[in-house]
Symmetry: C2
Subunit: 217 residues, 2 copies
């Protein structure tokens, strides 16, 4: 391959790569915009954050809470979350959320981009766990991908549980649970379980605020 | 695959994905830090920016220049650069830098992450073009990857020209020119061509300020 051909391919690369080349900006800015919604949500008192991941949401919660207890199953993401969160009112717990039982009740139970990773058959139990974790008058607040986000995933078909394929830089592939809830169905399902719920949508995401059935509280 | 196995794979994904998951933050912040060096460089007067790409550097140059003329070969990156740059003192030109001849002289010729994409056999001509584009007393200012950056590229071996492979999300692959200049060799080479040059390194990158041979000016 001579230099002219290589330079032609180089030009072709930069033409084709333009949208991906700027992606760190775009992703950072889109996430910053979404993170800002925390300021408009009724985050209060002692907050339980489920599936905190790398702690992208944790500092924003800590700024508005008396305390934050942030739980995740993955050691590696918790290491990053701890590095990102310097507040002394934040405590991290490593635990499988499908096994873990909250040791106390909280004023707010918050989970961002976790509901879509809960298998549908486990949703009733999950909502019961959230309900049991809420103090009287407490609220569940949740943010996740709406149906439009499916366009950005490799959705797997013919699976017993809705799933998607994720790829890492080293070429390794993982199947994950991924349910793209739509706001109306989720509202109906939660209402049927006795919850009082309001869900708004924002740029392909939904943001829910829900109070559990009082009999379960 | 039952839900337990799927959930185990999901946990494995998030453990393995932790560093990549936060990459938009890391890349954004590293680039913001590097972009800030513009404030410490002798950007002045009428500036020519070679290979402006998606215009990441252009607004910072415009803030310190009387005018910026930003040139790139790729239509698609120029569209993004125009969207990013609102200053009325910036003009964009679409041209192949290996063909284009500057129509006038400039006080500063700036190029970030372009030198590494120039084939070594074309470097003497490239530096002559830069020299011819500089007004008396003008300076070339350039930023690029040092040798440490090779660790982040798929370097192609046994090529007549130093090259790397770049992959896009759709699986397509492109060979590009990629020369990881080290500061000392580059200083020696430019000095041999009659330039006066100072190169500093900063977190894997180098930042050069160079004045052309007066006989060429």
């Amino acid at each position: 391959m001579d230099d002219d051909a290589l330079l032609a391919e180089q030009r072709a690369y930069y033409r084709a790569a333009a949208p991906e080349y700027d992606r760190p900006y775009a992703e950072y800015e889109a996430l910053q915009q979404l993170l800002a919604v925390v300021d408009d949500l009724p985050i209060a008192g002692d907050v339980l954050e489920l599936a905190c991941g790398t702690g992208q949401w944790t500092p924003g919660l800590a700024a508005r809470a008396r305390s934050v207890t942030a739980v995740d199953a993955a050691t590696e993401v918790l290491t990053l979350a701890r590095a990102r969160t310097t507040s002394s009112t934040v405590q991290f717990i490593e635990a499988d959320l499908f096994q873990w039982q909250p040791p106390r009740r909280y004023d707010t139970v918050f989970f961002a981009f976790w509901l879509s990773h809960v298998p549908p058959t486990r949703l009733p139990d999950f909502w019961n766990t959230v309900s049991a974790a809420l103090a009287p008058g407490g609220k569940a607040i949740f943010i996740d991908d709406g149906p439009a986000a499916a366009a950005y995933e490799e959705v797997l078909t013919n699976q017993p549980t809705p799933a998607a394929l994720r790829r890492l830089d080293d070429g390794s592939q993982y199947r994950i649970v991924k349910v793209f809830h739509d706001a109306q169905t989720l509202t109906d399902d939660l209402t049927a379980l006795g919850w009082t719920v309001q869900i708004q949508t924002k740029a392909g995401n939904f943001i829910g605020i829900a109070e559990p059935p009082t009999t379960a509280g």
